[in-house]
Subunit: 306 residues, 2 copies
């Protein structure tokens, strides 16, 4: 059976799957990333996982797609920088892997891969124009226009977590202030919680704790999640006015607080966006969970090979 | 000689030109719009101007392109709403004109047309990816991706004047609060001036007055223009992070205050945008002035006819 391998190289695990060209997940596997062991060791772990999938499948894939968090320089497959891998600076992951694997290979930003995955088998099926926002520790983004990932001139488009919410707001890891990520990611929710509950610190509260407090009816926790939703609504309004896309897919762990987020998201868009642009806006939860990136990476690899 | 007619239907004048397919402006003409005389009368004025250009040229154009401020529903040429023409609600301008003119005709948002114009004969020549911001009474925007205007799903993309700057900021005509337009348009600069100089009112200060005060060294006026530049820098940072385009063209009357704007614009982008995305950003002043829209409308008409 013709298949491709999709990989998601995360900070904790490298996850991979063999996926048929029709979109069936044939086999899944994972391996610890071991970031602390350094670049060469992580690269070897990637190769080990690919080879173990090939061994299991008893045939070679037509291509391999690899999703990595960070800034990927377009089609070169060079990882310019990655939040998960401090020692990957202008790291030519693609060429390095290709010298060991005689396979067609591509490297893609993990959020872009996830956006393609949701468009192939998930929430954005049949959609040609949509944005994906992945609410994890940070916020990843993918912009699909006319059926293709919009990568921008340097392959760096879609940094949706860094849309301005409050120009003088919280300091962000990207160097800016008041980015969406500072309010609607797990990290942002924790910061809101520390502001709301002065006895809490980074070590003794998590976004999940806030969610569980909200479920027990704690009004401050509900307010924190509602503010996260409002920030998302403001950022989506920008995207609606700039791009006039209709569909927004929201994934990642924080999307688990959907019931607390979706009302404020919609309210902000309805209050703020240009009337004609907002008329047909649809906000959906991502369907594929952690598999979106793997599925999308495989799909990009299939498209490239065919 | 093969030529098209480009028109810019503004609130005060309808301006038009015959432009050769090589980009030579062969003949220019204008007529008062007379908005207050109503939709039919304005439509007749448009027809009169087109016919007078044809008479002068002694031959028919291959096509006609018309730029109008407002929301144009994609390729249909229906004006959904226009700030200049309160009675143009879902007005089918294209069909109306075509029943009187036996010519290939298109209607485009004026800022989109201006973006195309600057890309053909102006500041963005040879560029495939750029945004235009036109700082007039309000702020118009055009987004060019891969050499084409990105119109969005409903033809409503590029509302760059309504990018969020301050979520709880000044009330905007679009229904939102804190839009770029409220700080960096002529209207926004006047609002800043009224805040800074409590003795001033809408009737006794204009954006031009602020500019002239700045030129005389008034520090409050310089501060107002610098704040307008900062807001532009914040909005451009969003566009840099979302779209990863490198070139931004700034036009419109307020761009006359360039020397006061450009420093703060660049400073904000440099402080705020993702490093890799901002590396190659270029901010340029529009070159074609009031002709950008006419030139772009003609170019779109030529592309369509050929």
């Amino acid at each position: 059976m013709k298949y491709s391998i999709g990989l998601d190289v995360g900070g904790t695990n490298i996850r991979g799957a063999a996926i048929s060209i029709k979109g069936e997940i044939l086999f899944k596997s994972k391996l610890a990333t071991n970031v602390s062991s350094g670049r060469e060791s992580v690269t070897n772990n990637i190769l080990t996982l690919i080879n173990s999938i090939i061994t299991h499948m008893k045939s070679s894939p037509i291509s391999v797609g690899i999703g990595v968090a960070g800034l990927i320089r377009g089609e070169t497959g060079i990882v310019s920088e990655s939040p998960n891998f401090p020692d990957w600076i202008e790291y030519d992951l693609k060429t390095t892997l290709q010298t060991s694997l005689n396979l067609d290979l591509l490297v893609e930003n993990d959020a872009n891969a996830a956006a393609v995955g949701e468009g192939w088998l998930g929430s954005a099926k049949e959609e040609k124009n949509y944005c994906l926002l992945t609410l994890g520790t940070g916020i990843g983004g993918g912009v699909v226009l006319g059926g293709n990932i919009w990568r921008g001139v340097d392959g760096m488009a879609g940094e949706l977590g860094h849309i301005n919410i409050y120009p003088e707001g919280r300091k962000c890891g990207c160097g800016n202030r008041g980015c969406l990520e500072q309010y609607a990611s797990a990290q942002g929710i924790v910061k809101s919680a520390i502001e709301a509950f002065p006895s809490k610190t980074l070590d003794n509260i998590s976004a999940k704790d806030v969610f569980e407090m909200a479920q027990k009816g704690d009004s401050a926790a509900i307010h924190i999640l509602s503010d996260a939703g409002r920030s998302l609504g403001i950022a989506i309004t920008d995207l609606v006015n700039i791009l006039n896309v209709r569909m927004f897919i929201i994934g990642g762990g924080v999307a688990g607080a959907w019931d607390y987020l979706i009302g404020p998201i919609k309210e902000e868009i309805f209050t703020r966006a240009y009337k004609v642009n907002r008329e047909n806006v649809v906000i959906k939860r991502a369907l594929l969970g952690d598999d979106a990136g793997i599925v999308g990476a495989a799909r990009l690899a299939i498209d490239r090979a065919e």
